[in-house]
Symmetry: C2
């Protein structure tokens, strides 16, 4: 950030009064420009024991499989964002989503919130960001070809909860440190 | 948003190629400046059947009661944000937080994620944003003096789950429409 979005003045980095962090502050009009993590909302669409996955038509991870997910927009609820992504990426309609996984990715300044939702019919097809959309048996998820870590962790929890016969909200964080990437599981209800 | 943060050029509102929404776009360098909802993380600190509340020293809702909560910062997990807010607002240390409520406020472009966490000791005191910090019996929550709707809904769920003898993740959205404000409960695991 180099220029003030309000007045066009030069931005400096400083700790405002009553704050403890360096912020982007306009040297002319003194507006403080905060930055905050973004929310990604996604949905695992379910149909008679199978789940719907999309093959990505775009970078990053072009050609890899994912369930529908993307950045939450202004004016939306997280549920609305998950439903919209499902419509955009798979031309698929789902019933009321139920929260399933919540994961932070602090190295990317993101929070991922993934839902489960019943597919309403079999009228689905690739949206502009997908080349294929297909129902998978949970036993035949293409684990080696999944697009992102939180897609992997959500589906791994899914298979585990399916075996247990009981779904519940699962939490964890994707952490990048000196040793590389790892998944830190969160405290969660039994 | 009037000026480009990258080059200082004038901002226009337009729908970029491969997009469906009006965005803030720089008319000079063509940078697209996305806006996204923000995450508020909070924590209900628990001590032997009581919960810790803070009386707000600042606007909005100066003088009202809340549990520690605030905007998630860059580089944090939601859990880290909840723990930090508890330290800042109540000078209190908590053990590992467990996700409790997830609520969207689309009219404010916010997602609130509230945790429960065990208070580690009784060494707490008002932080700079609080005038009082006090342990309350769930039966004596000052319902008429709570600061925000999501504080109210989280504590209402809390009292309900306490009576049921079982806590679980609770979801819902605070919706503002023609009829005013209402709370729309989310689908949730039994």
């Amino acid at each position: 950030m180099k220029f003030c979005a309000e007045c066009g003045g030069p931005i400096v980095r400083e700790i405002p009064a009553n704050d403890t962090r360096l912020r982007f502050v306009c040297s002319v009009c003194r507006t403080i420009h905060y930055e905050n993590p973004r929310v990604v909302a996604g949905c695992v669409p379910e149909w008679q024991g199978k789940i719907l996955l999309c093959r990505r038509a775009i970078e990053p991870r072009l050609g890899r499989w994912t369930f529908p997910a993307g950045f939450m927009e202004m004016g939306e609820t997280t549920v609305e964002a998950a439903v919209r992504e499902t419509l955009e990426e798979a031309n698929a309609r789902v019933g009321e989503p139920e929260l399933y996984t919540v994961m932070s990715l602090p190295h990317m300044d993101q929070v991922h919130m993934m839902y489960r939702a019943p597919l309403l019919d079999l009228d689905f097809s690739p949206g502009s960001e997908s080349t294929e959309v297909e129902l998978f048996d949970p036993d035949s998820v293409p684990w080696q070809e999944l697009a992102f870590p939180t897609i992997h962790h959500t589906l791994a929890f899914y298979v585990e909860d399916l075996a247990l016969g009981k779904f519940r909200v699962r939490t964890g964080d994707v952490i990048r440190d000196a040793a590389g990437f790892r998944f830190r599981i969160g405290k969660q209800y039994k």
